[in-house]
Symmetry: C2
Subunit: 320 residues, 2 copies
C-alpha cells in the first residue's frame, strides 16, 4: 500500500494527538540514514521539541539473566495503572530487525505490548552505537511529544551502550542478582559508576534473605568506595519492591537540576555526533582499510613507531 507523503504539520498534529501509526512512522523516519529523510526528521524534531514535557527518563541495565524485560514489564504495568503513559525503547547495537532479541523482548513484555497506554519499540539496527543512540534519543523526543510521560530505555550491556544510555536519561538503574560473595560478577567495568540506583532482583522465595543480604553488603561496599548509590531489593516476578525502586528513582531525580542536566546532555550529544562522524569516516575510509593490516604488522614487529604509523594512516585518510 502506498502511504501519503510525510507532511510535517500533519505529522506534528497526529503525533501530539497520540496516533500510534504516526509515532511509528516518525520513529522510522529518525532511524533512516537517507539524506532527505534526515533533513525531514530534523525539521520534525525541532517542531516537536517545542512541547516541553516533564517526562521521567529512566535507563535500565543489567547482566543477562537479571530479568530486565520482566522488570520493565512489571514496573511499566504498575505505572500505567497509576495513570502514566509508558514508552520503552532499547539501545542494542548488536540487534537486527529480524534477530531474536527483539522478538524476545516483545514476547516477554506481554503486559506492555498489549496495552494502548504503552509503546514498546525495539532497538534500531543502524549499525554503530553512535547511530543507534542517536535514533533512540530522537525517538524519545517523538514519544514525549506524543504524551508518554515515562520513557524507559533498556540497554543490553554490549560495549559502550550503557554510557550512551546514561547520557540520555535522568536516572540510570542497574539490575543485579544475589550471588554470594560476588554480587557484581559479570557487570562490565565502569557500569557500576553509572548507576544512580541499584536493585537486586529476584528477591523472592528462598532467595529473599540472600538478596537482602547482598543488597546490604553492596551498599556497604559502595559507601566505602565513596559512592552513595541506593541499593534496594525487588522481585519483578512477584511484583514486590517495585514501588520502592520507583520511589528511589524519583528521589534521585528530585535531587537533580533537571533543566541544566538536559541542556548539557544536548550539548554533549552534539559533540559526540561530531566525533562519531569523524571516527566513522576514519573507519570507513577505503585507503585506511587497505593500509591498516601492513602498518599494524610493522608496528607489532617493531619496524615502525606508533607515531610514524599514525602519520601514514592520517595521510591515507586525507587521500580519501
Amino acid at each position: 500500500p502506498t502511504r501519503p507523503p510525510f507532511d510535517l504539520d500533519q505529522a506534528t498534529e497526529q503525533i501530539r494527538a497520540g496516533s500510534r501509526a504516526w509515532i511509528a512512522r516518525a520513529i522510522t523516519l529518525v532511524e533512516s540514514t537517507r539524506p532527505d529523510h534526515r533533513r525531514l526528521a530534523q525539521e520534525l524534531l525541532a517542531q516537536l521539541a517545542h512541547t516541553a514535557p516533564s517526562t521521567v527518563r529512566l535507563g535500565v541495565s543489567g547482566v543477562p539473566g537479571a530479568g530486565k524485560s520482566t522488570f520493565i514489564n512489571a514496573l511499566g504495568g504498575r505505572l500505567i495503572d497509576a495513570g502514566h503513559a509508558v514508552a520503552v525503547l532499547a539501545v542494542d547495537p548488536s540487534s537486527t530487525r529480524t534477530g531474536g532479541s527483539i522478538l524476545g523482548d516483545k514476547t516477554r513484555m506481554t503486559r506492555l505490548a498489549a496495552d494502548p497506554r504503552a509503546f514498546v519499540r525495539p532497538s534500531p539496527s543502524a549499525g554503530t552505537l553512535g547511530g543507534v543512540a542517536k535514533a533512540t534519543r530522537e525517538a524519545m523526543v517523538v514519544l514525549e511529544a506524543a504524551g508518554y510521560d515515562v520513557v524507559i530505555v533498556e540497554t543490553v550491556g554490549v560495549g559502550q551502550s550503557e554510557t550512551a544510555v546514561a547520557e540520555m536519561v535522568d536516572t540510570f538503574l542497574l539490575l543485579t542478582l544475589a550471588r554470594s560473595g560476588d554480587q557484581l560478577q559479570g557487570i562490565k567495568k565502569g557500569v557500576l559508576e553509572l548507576a544512580d540506583v541499584i536493585a537486586v532482583n529476584k528477591a523472592d522465595g528462598k532467595h529473599e534473605t540472600e538478596a537482602w543480604k547482598a543488597a546490604r553488603e553492596l551498599s556497604g561496599a559502595l559507601h566505602l568506595l565513596g559512592a552513595s548509590t541506593g541499593v534496594l531489593t525487588c522481585s519483578a516476578q512477584e511484583g514486590t519492591g517495585l514501588d520502592e525502586v520507583w520511589a528511589q528513582v524519583l528521589r534521585h531525580r528530585q535531587g537533580l537540576d533537571l533543566t541544566a542536566k538536559r541542556r548539557e546532555q544536548l550539548i554533549g550529544w552534539t559533540w559526540s555526533m561530531v566525533r562519531d562522524t569523524l571516527l566513522d569516516q576514519l573507519r570507513e575510509s577505503p585507503a585506511v582499510r587497505e593500509l591498516t593490516p601492513a602498518v599494524e604488522a610493522q608496528v607489532r614487529a617493531g619496524e615502525l613507531t606508533p607515531a610514524s604509523a599514525a602519520e601514514q594512516i592520517l595521510q591515507a585518510l586525507r587521500r580519501t
Copy 2:
C-alpha cells in the same frame, strides 16, 4: 654554546652507552613538535627499539597528598641498592617547564635526583594529554635503550592522564591513604578500575592500625565487587612495606603475557594518536571555534536539534 648536529648513529651509540647528556637530548627531541625534529625522532626511536630489554614499567597514581614523590623516591632508592637502574617519568598535562610541580618533584626526590643510576625527567609540557603521553612513551623507549631496567611513570591525576599511563605500563599502582569510612574519597571515577595493585601509604606511627584496617576493608569491598586487586600497606617515609609492594608488582607482572600486552599497547597508541590528531583538528579549526557559541546557544534553547548542530559543525570543519 652551539651543539654539534644530531647524528643518528652517534646518538644511538651514546644512548646505548648510557650517556646522560645524549639521553636528555634525545628526550628533548621526542618532545619537539617541529616537523624535522619529529622525523629525526622517529628514525632514532625505530633504531633504539631494536634493543628489546625486559624493563619493568610501573605506573604510579594517587590523590594529592598520598605521597607519590616520597614513595617513588624511597622505592627507587631501594631498587638502585638492589642493582637496578631506575628512570622516573611523569604525565602531567597541566605542568609547565617553569611551573612549581616539577621543581617540587625534583626537590622531593632527593635520593633519586642525586644518584647516577637514576634518571628523573619531569613531564613534558606539550599542551594536550595526547601530546604529553606520546612524548612520555617515546622517552621510555630512549631510557630502556640506555639500560634503565625499571621505568616508573607518575601521574598527577589530572583528567584522563591515568588512563594514558595505564596504557603505557605493565602494572598500575594506586597509592591511597587511610581515611575512616571513605578510603577512596577523592579518587577520580574509573581510576580504581585501572589499579592492578593498591597500597595504603603513610601506615606509620599512630596511623598504622588504621591503615591496616583500611586496606583490609578496601580489599573486601573490591572482592565483593568482583575485582581481585591486591591491597597492601606501606610507609614511604619509614621505608616499611615497600618490598612487599614491589613483590606484588612483580607478581602481577608475572601473570601477564607481556609480549602480547606490549604489542597491543603499540597498536592502541597508534590509533589513539590518529584519533587525537583528528580531534585536535576539530578543536583547533578556526571556523568551528567561531561557529560554536552560537550553535550551542541554539541547541540549549531547543531551536536546533543536536544532529543539525553536529552537521553544521562538520560543515565548518570541512571548510577549514
